[in-house]
């Protein structure tokens, strides 16, 4: 009996030791996570740490993270932080500042694209994260249609301007209308000028932001005064509602990016404003009917800035091991190999790196997209903002509310949350 007890205790102790050498990370089920997974054996060889990645879908991440961040000792050594959550997580004091680690190991924080670093890197001069990947939104369009002489002639005849990669918002609106058509003569449109993702919440907020910027609108001014009921913002929402109800596939009112992308990859739409890291999927002839036929450009007015960062929660059981991993995964060599695999880059030098460009010829064209992207409101209640304003935008996009009325309600909801956060009086 005594031997059995000693044996069990020894086993438990060994399990404890083994546990301490395993780093746990909560990540999203996206290609960028798979790229990291494929390199983990090298980290193990270099440091001796095992890494266990728990990949779940985005919609479950915030809910799963928060209880772990509140706990004195959480389940995750490392987390990835969406820019939505940055203000919430830092204000709540859940993230460990990384400046000391970075200085100790001579990490050059200037290697990141400044806007990405400002989004998921530093808050008030303190480094809480190292940027992992960006998801700036760009305009993916069918270049085969733009180059078609018959389309060019018809477009010129109808609008009096040349058909080409859209440089202005008005040009893009005309193209959305022009390409929406009934190709089989059954009285219903079956090819669409664009595909919107108007599902309530995060999906609609991501894409409709580009319509706001395209019309010259902004979410807030330099003093955090909300600007959602300005003429530009109302026009942006009206354009988004038009795009959803007239120029996009039926059902777009309930689409998120996966369903919207599917319409594009089935070759049923001329354009989609989407995350630049989905471009490779849409342009892959093996998986997409639009493969090899699309190009990507900046959204007129600038696309939405989005990015993820690596962070260490204060509840991390192994902070040194966590930093060792982040320092390794963001080292230039590893970041470059991830970029070659398709990672949406965050380090400036990678966009023009010879090896990266050889593997991904579109890489240089992605840099201005990231550099010129527009910021989304990031404050303590961003998640609630997305929900409240997203509901109003969805009501407009599904034809249940007049865009002006929805914009006024969104303005009020935004102002309430800014007041709650102490940003305005």
């Amino acid at each position: 009996m005594k031997r059995l007890l000693i044996g069990v205790l020894a086993l438990v102790a060994m399990m404890g030791v083994a546990r301490a050498e395993t780093l746990r990370i909560l990540m999203e089920t996206v290609p960028d996570t798979e790229q990291v997974k494929s390199l983990l054996s090298e980290f193990k060889a270099a440091t001796g740490y095992d890494v266990e990645i728990e990949a779940i879908s985005y919609i479950d991440m915030h809910t799963k993270l928060v209880p772990q961040l509140i706990a004195p000792t959480g389940a995750y050594d490392i987390i990835i932080v969406d820019f939505y959550w940055v203000a919430e997580f830092t204000k709540a004091g859940w993230l460990l500042p990384l400046d000391e680690f970075a200085q100790r190991d001579g990490v050059d924080l200037g290697r990141y694209v400044p806007k990405v670093m400002a989004t998921t890197g530093q808050v008030d001069g303190v480094t809480y994260m190292l940027p992992f990947y960006n998801y700036v939104m760009g305009l993916v369009y069918r270049k085969d249609l733009l180059e078609d002489p018959a389309e060019q002639a018809a477009f010129k005849e109808k609008y009096g301007i040349e058909l080409g990669v859209p440089k202005t918002w008005d040009e893009f609106k005309k193209q959305m209308e022009f390409f929406t058509r009934d190709t089989d003569g059954d009285g219903q449109n079956d090819f669409f000028g664009t595909v919107t993702q108007a599902q309530r919440g995060d999906c609609i907020m991501m894409q409709s932001s580009n319509f706001l910027y395209g019309n010259g609108g902004r979410y807030y001014d330099e003093n955090w005064n909300p600007l959602l009921n300005t003429p530009e913002a109302v026009q942006g929402l009206a354009d988004f509602a038009d795009a959803t109800l007239k120029y996009s596939a039926p059902g777009s009112e309930g689409f998120c990016f996966d369903e919207a992308t599917a319409v594009m990859t089935q070759g049923k739409a001329y354009s989609i404003i989407t995350f630049n890291n989905l471009y490779a999927t849409i342009n892959n002839p093996e998986t997409s009917a639009a493969g090899g036929k699309v190009g990507i450009t900046g959204v007129p007015g600038g696309g939405l800035m989005g990015s993820w960062g690596w962070g260490i929660p204060k509840s991390s059981p192994n902070k040194d091991g966590a930093w060792a991993f982040i320092n390794w995964v963001e080292s230039f060599d590893i970041a470059k190999r991830r970029a070659i695999m398709g990672n949406a880059m965050t380090q400036t030098a990678l966009f023009t790196d010879v090896d990266v460009v050889a593997a991904r010829p579109e890489a240089p064209s992605l840099e201005p997209l990231v550099a010129e992207a527009n910021a989304f409101p990031v404050f303590t209640y961003t998640v609630e903002f997305v929900e409240a304003v997203g509901r109003e935008f969805n009501l407009a996009a599904s034809g249940q509310k007049d865009p002006k009325e929805a914009a006024e309600a969104a303005q009020e909801a935004f102002a309430d949350l800014l007041r709650k956060d102490g940003l305005i009086e």
Partner: protein, 293 residues
């Protein structure tokens, strides 16, 4: 030993045996419940997760005044009534049909139980793909038989009924199995007497089956009612409460208050209020069942 003393010893022994179970029950049921009630009286947020600001019933008032709460409550009422009533009608019909079946009964059971065994998240994802307006198989089939495309999740009315129908697809077998168990346990004698008296099938159903099944029906309706009020997964995956507020059920509303609004105090107040409503319904139905017995 006197009979009274023996009974007391038995009672003590019984208490001893049930004590661990009762303690576990207290821990896993009453503690979270008590915590929710306690938290609902404080300004407890995820940004400041402390019980240091007592606010009394302010969170209840705040919850009651929350934007779009009446919409969520009304949508929940419509959803519960529609799904429970339709599930009952289909479930009872299936149960009556299966009660007479003698061959391949197990095969029918397996088919019937398959949706119920599936995770609700899987069910919702599956239907989301099937009902994709442009690329889903449902609209493709409807197109083949000459019916135009239906905007299942984009149109507010269609989205509400889509969520109801998916819930029915998932849960109807629960109702059917429960009612089938009740039918199988009914005594044979009243039916034989009715047959001797020349009662028709409809008369037998109305005057014998329905009265005898009342307690089982009450239990089935009560359970489904409670489950339907708590419906969350299908809406969370399929619609996020949209388009607009067309499928915004109260459980999802409360969830958003806690995890999007970060206001656990307000979400707890909503949960406690919902619990009281469900409790009141349960007590009413329990009393009704007892009156039938």
């Amino acid at each position: 030993m006197a009979a009274g003393a023996l009974a007391r010893r038995d009672q003590r022994f019984g208490l001893l045996l049930t004590a661990p179970g009762l303690a576990a029950l207290l821990l896993v049921v009453l503690f979270p419940l008590g915590f929710a009630v306690f938290t609902s009286l404080f300004d407890y947020t995820l940004v400041h997760p402390n019980h240091d600001t007592f606010v009394g019933f302010d969170k209840y008032v705040e919850a009651w005044n929350a934007d779009y709460l009446p919409d969520a409550l009304w949508t929940t009422v419509k959803f519960v009534v529609a799904s429970v009533v339709i599930e009952f009608v289909i479930g009872f019909s299936v149960a009556l049909a299966l009660n007479r079946v003698t061959r391949f009964k197990n095969v029918y059971y397996i088919i019937l139980l398959a949706p119920l065994l599936m995770n609700p998240v899987v069910v919702a994802q599956l239907w989301r793909m099937i009902l994709h307006s442009e690329l889903g198989i449902m609209n493709y089939v409807l197109g083949m038989i000459g019916i135009g495309k239906i905007n299942f999740l984009g149109d507010p009315v269609a989205a509400f009924w889509t969520v109801v129908l998916v819930d029915i697809w998932h849960q109807v077998s629960f109702m059917a199995i429960l009612l089938l168990a009740g039918l199988a346990a009914l005594p044979r004698e009243p039916y034989e007497a009715a047959r001797m008296d020349g009662a028709s099938a409809v008369q037998t159903f109305v005057h014998i089956t329905l009265p005898l099944m009342r307690p089982v029906i009450a239990v089935a309706l009560l359970l489904r009612l409670i489950f339907a009020i708590k419906t969350f997964d299908i809406v969370f995956i399929m619609t996020k409460g949209g388009p607009g507020t067309a499928t915004d059920l109260i459980s999802y509303f409360i969830y958003r208050s806690a995890f999007f609004g970060l206001d656990v105090g307000r979400a707890s107040a909503m949960s406690v209020a919902l619990l009281l409503i469900v409790l009141a319904l349960t007590i009413y139905l329990y009393r009704y069942m007892k009156s039938l017995a």
